[in-house]
């Protein structure tokens, strides 16, 4: 089904491989993935991933992905289910470390620091590269304690006033302050789904990360809550670098500046969001965004 043969350079010095996928009944050259189409680089990269392979046991989940994530930009990762976009996202703050059988090869840098360097401690990394998950997962603690959790464990504040300030700022940035300022001691799990997700975003930004990773943050939310989060993402772009995985192409088109299309563990095409959605260069990208599969 899947034959992988080594091939030579397509992009810079990156080694690439050719994958002949068996999903297409007709042998269609236009559908073969010959490395990544488009510009993987960013003018002002915060994170750079080069030649990343991820294995679950013996299974190759991500094959040779190289991608830059630029400062103050939102990059959207789209693709059909099981294409590896979430796996790639979880490599960026080493959340995959929690999965025993997962193995990551290649190089991922945050501001010139190799995050898979054996000398690097994963704890400060995750404070710098925060993550928002698919399902809102506030702790069953009060709203205040949810937001204060990160600052407390990292010792970011020395007294209660500072902590109050950090919590207020985080909730303000997450657009939740007005809704919860009078009930900060109520349980976070008692909020509505959209509020919970914004609480999770507030919890993430309370530790002042540089990068925020979002793994389908709106997939469990209704359209109005989704619109609210999308607005928020656009506001947060001013201060943070954001990578978002989404199943919704409309959402990718609305919130992102760059879009990366993943397919069967490979990065097929990267480019400016406008270009990807108007003039996709790869046949697979075109098929996906025109709704022919996915």
């Amino acid at each position: 089904m899947l034959s992988i043969t080594p091939d030579t350079v397509v992009l810079g010095t990156a080694r690439k491989s050719v994958i002949t996928a068996g999903f297409s009944p007709v042998a269609d050259d236009a559908r073969a993935i010959n490395g990544t189409v488009g510009d993987i680089t960013s003018a002002d990269p915060r994170m750079t991933a080069r030649n990343v392979n991820v294995y679950y046991g013996d299974k190759l989940a991500i094959n040779n992905v190289s991608l830059d994530i630029g400062v103050n930009e939102v990059i959207a990762m789209i693709g059909p289910s099981g294409c590896g976009k979430s796996t790639f996202l979880r490599c960026l703050n080493r959340m995959n470390d929690t999965i025993d059988i997962c193995r990551v090869e290649g190089e991922i840098r945050l501001d010139d620091q190799d995050i898979y360097d054996s000398g690097l401690d994963v704890v400060p990394l995750r404070a710098q590269v925060g993550m928002v998950f698919q399902k809102p997962n506030p702790f069953p603690k009060s709203i205040y304690d949810n937001v204060a959790y990160g600052p407390r464990i990292h010792g970011l504040t020395s007294n209660k006033n500072d902590l109050d300030e950090v919590v207020e700022q985080a909730l303000l940035k997450a657009g939740l302050w007005d809704e919860v300022k009078d009930r900060l001691d109520e349980v976070g799990t008692g909020l509505s789904g959209g509020q919970q997700q914004r609480l999770c975003i507030a919890r993430t930004i309370a530790v002042a990360p540089e990068v925020i990773l979002m793994d389908e943050p709106c997939s469990a939310l209704d359209p109005i809550a989704t619109a609210r989060i999308e607005e928020l993402i656009d506001e947060l772009r001013e201060q943070y670098t954001i990578a978002i995985v989404t199943h919704s192409m409309q959402q990718a088109a609305r919130v992102s500046q760059r879009t990366a299309y993943f397919h069967l563990g490979e990065l097929v095409e990267v480019g400016k969001t406008d270009d990807i959605f108007t003039t996709p260069r790869h046949r697979l990208t075109e098929d996906y965004i025109t709704g022919r599969f996915g």
Binding site: F133, P140, R203
Partner: protein, 462 residues
């Protein structure tokens, strides 16, 4: 012919009724092809007929058997000479017993008189008549029921609904058996306790500081004060339970945290069952482990330190009981820790919390209600535990907080009060029921609280 045979015949009749009912339903709609015209499947008509055949007959048989002996007894008594009938109930009972033994060919307590032989023959005759009558009544009832059920079968008859409602009542019956048994136990303990409290004031029982249940049989007997104060017993029980929890809670909880959060899958796969084997060791084995190994060990080491350790110390019993309870706590805590959603761990790790911070600040608080529930269940188990303390804790009711001394527990006293030949009208024996009632109430309260806490925990993530 015996009742067993009668029941077997009834079962045979029920099987026949099943076939007849099923056949009739099929025949009424013209063979297997017409099953669609029936309200229920043919087998339901079969069951319905079988129930009509068997159920009333079995009920009558059951009533007959349970009432028969009393009726026969009364008839035999009525036929006895006036002199015997005038005997007090206890002696009359002995006479009846002799008559029954004579009739069944067993050993009789005294000389066999002519009157007794006549009464025995009468008894035997009555039994035979009763049995013959029961066979006739039951079998005719079964046949009558069969024909009624058979006649009721018709294509529009809702046999399935009838059968299912019978099954429903059967299920109700089964589920209430346990409830009524519990109720029966509680009531019997309660009534005996009330008899006890008629002899010993309840205030003296609950707040007395002295436990010495020896009652004088003769007026001039010495050393039989007969004091029934439970405070020393409960102090001993709580002391041992406290030592047990001090051992079991930290060890159990920490092993649960290790197994569920840190241990690799392979280690966990064999360590967890191994830990749970502890729960499978009979408590009597723990008991002699405590009495023969742990208690001497503590005494010898205490002697080295210059401490005066009793050879049956609360410490030995408590330590071993704690070991016994470890699997309770570890297993329950492991379950609740595993029930904390992975998303909580992800959220905490995703902010940059370390594994131990995640365990301390997210997982344990989230799992705490469940853990507390598990601990309360373990406490009620520790308070009710008998075998270890019987063997290792001693019998003397000392009111002390020193774990190196010998104390006794409620359960130990219940055992010693009821072991051997006892008379059931002395406060000494009845005290066991009062102790049992008190123990039952305490563990009941603990269990209710524990279940309440556990249930509250279940709603935490919804």
């Amino acid at each position: 012919m015996s009742n067993t045979l009668l029941i077997l015949i009834l079962l045979g009749l029920m099987a026949l009724a099943y076939r007849l009912g099923m056949r009739r339903s099929q025949r009424l709609v013209g063979g297997p092809g017409g099953v669609r015209d029936l309200h229920s499947l043919p087998s339901y008509y079969g069951f319905f007929t079988a129930i009509w055949c068997g159920l009333p007959a079995l009920l009558v048989l059951f009533l007959w058997v349970s009432l028969q002996s009393g009726v026969i007894r009364d008839l035999v008594i009525a036929d006895l000479p006036e002199a015997v009938r005038a005997l007090p109930p206890a002696q009359l009972g002995l006479v009846i017993n002799d008559i029954q033994n004579l009739a069944q060919g067993n050993i009789v307590s005294g000389e066999v008189s002519l009157e007794m032989e006549r009464a025995a023959a009468h008894y035997q005759r009555l039994r035979q008549t009763s049995f013959a009558a029961s066979v006739v009544v039951v079998l005719s009832l079964a046949l009558l029921g069969l024909s009624v059920g058979w006649r009721l079968v018709s294509p529009t008859f809702r046999a399935r609904n009838r059968v299912e409602s019978v099954i429903k009542w059967l299920l109700v019956g089964c589920s209430t058996i346990a409830i009524f048994t519990t109720l029966g136990i509680v009531l019997s303990v309660l009534f005996e306790s009330i008899r006890f409290f008629e002899m010993v004031p309840i205030g003296e029982f609950l707040f007395g500081l002295d436990w010495s249940p020896q009652m004088a049989i003769r007026e001039d007997q010495v050393g039989s004060s007969g004091a029934f104060g439970v405070i020393p017993l409960f102090a001993g029980t709580l002391l041992i339970a406290l030592i047990a929890m001090l051992v079991a809670v930290p060890i159990g909880l920490m092993s649960a945290i290790y197994l569920s959060e840190y241990a690799g899958a392979r280690f966990r796969a064999w360590a967890k069952p191994l830990l749970e084997i502890l729960a499978g060791i009979p408590t009597v084995v723990y008991g002699f482990f405590a009495a023969l190994t742990v208690a001497p060990f503590i005494r010898d080491n205490g002697a080295l330190l210059g401490l005066d350790v009793s050879s049956e110390s609360a410490l030995a019993a408590g330590l071993v009981m704690g070991i016994m309870i470890i699997p309770f706590i570890s297993s329950l805590s492991d379950d609740v820790i595993n029930a904390v959603p992975q998303s909580m761990r992800d959220a905490s790790l995703g902010i940059g919390a370390t594994h131990s911070e995640t365990v301390r600040k997210v997982i344990l608080p989230a799992a705490l209600p469940g853990i507390v529930g598990g601990i309360l269940l373990a406490v009620s188990r520790a308070i009710g535990e008998t075998m270890i303390v019987v063997m290792a804790a001693g019998l003397s009711a000392n009111l002390t907080a020193n774990p190196l001394q010998s104390v006794t527990t409620v359960t130990v006293q219940i055992v010693t009060l009821l072991v051997g030949d006892q008379e059931f009208d002395s406060p000494k024996t009845l005290a066991a029921f009062a102790l049992g009632l008190l123990l039952f109430l305490i563990t009941l309260v603990l269990n209710v609280v524990a279940l309440h806490v556990v249930r509250k925990y279940r709603e935490a993530y919804e």
